[in-house]
Subunit: 211 residues, 2 copies
């Protein structure tokens, strides 16, 4: 039986769905459900069984003909395919409402990441403890950022500081930036930026909702 080798590259739409399947499956796991079929997963996700199978087909090991997928095996395989054993080091830059929301609510440890540091420049924020981490001053001491050897960053500073801060991140070796700033960022090749402007989410939602 031909098996798929784990390093086959996943299509981008597939990666997006897999990360969401993972959350769904973990919910199933918590609810004590041991096995699911592609059509059950499709029902919850909101796509087709065929697409689910096509997505899972790329994974190393998947289901059993006739009886479906074991939830525990599947979550493990998705984690592996998405590279969640990597222990990526995350930093948050800008610790206003949004930055601290991310720090406090995103379960990094559960998905192979570590919140390595939090930065800001405002005197009334620097020095505070957020989720057990002391907020450091980016402006004064660039080496502090570099010393953390961060892989990924969430950029939550006010728009005017966006590019400048992104440059610092790149210099510190960050390879991926989640941009919550309204400004577009210029980064060198090899660094990926995902734009996550909240207003766009609302615009898209408003379009979808009146369709």
């Amino acid at each position: 039986m031909p098996k798929n080798n784990g390093n086959s590259d996943l299509a981008w739409p597939s990666v997006n769905r897999l990360s969401e399947y993972l959350l769904i499956l973990e919910q199933f796991e918590k609810d004590g459900i041991g096995t699911i079929s592609s059509s059950e997963l499709a029902e919850v996700y909101g796509n087709t069984a065929s697409q689910v199978r096509q997505d899972l087909f790329r994974l190393e090991e998947t289901g059993r003909v006739g009886s479906g997928y074991r939830v525990d095996v599947l979550t493990h395989m998705i984690r592996k395919a998405l590279g969640l054993e990597r222990k990526s080091r995350v930093v948050i830059v800008g610790c206003g409402k949004l930055g601290s929301a991310i720090a406090e609510h995103v379960p990094f440890e559960e998905y192979g990441m570590v919140l390595a540091g939090i930065f800001d420049i405002a005197p009334d924020i620097v020095g505070r403890k957020v989720r057990g981490i002391t907020v450091q001053d980016v402006s004064r001491d660039t080496s502090a950022l570099k010393d953390l050897s961060p892989d990924l960053a969430a950029l939550c500073v006010p728009p005017p500081a966006g590019q400048e801060t992104a440059d610092l991140l790149v210099e510190a070796g960050v390879k991926g930036i989640l941009n919550y700033t309204r400004k577009r960022l210029r980064v060198p090749r090899g660094v990926s930026v995902q734009d996550r402007q909240m207003i766009c989410a609302f615009i898209q939602l408003s379009f979808a909702a009146t369709k």
Copy 2:
């Protein structure tokens, strides 16, 4: 010259890009740039000139052969195509760090939306003023939500309350929900949900960054 009628339906990937073009163009406008070419926009967005033209082609009125697109005309046409004259009424449910970040930083008014209300259930949050709006108690008075006749909602409550709160929103007539909760929501047909779990953004970023 064949012109495109404004109600032609846009492809979903196109809608997503258009909402981001809009932010870019507004930045250009602020910088005093009056005209841009498809290749300049593509350069900033990070796609091809051909794709940009294909996206803009669907709009009612677009550019001028030989000399590019007028930034002001284009922003106006994108706004029109995305339906941003609609004055959608937005409510935020759950006013913790994330909910209040959205309330304070998302420029609803600039994009044809109104922040109509903010809700929570925690006694220490209800009654506070956030962006000039008094946080109301959802649990005690469901009619308060209904009275606002909300169109769109951002769901920022803790996971256990997700479905229950979504039900309230649907009952109040909400047609689109931005789900920041980790749980999947069940909603009737006709209501659209966009899942915006932050951890998924990090997972996707980590995958993209190590690609």
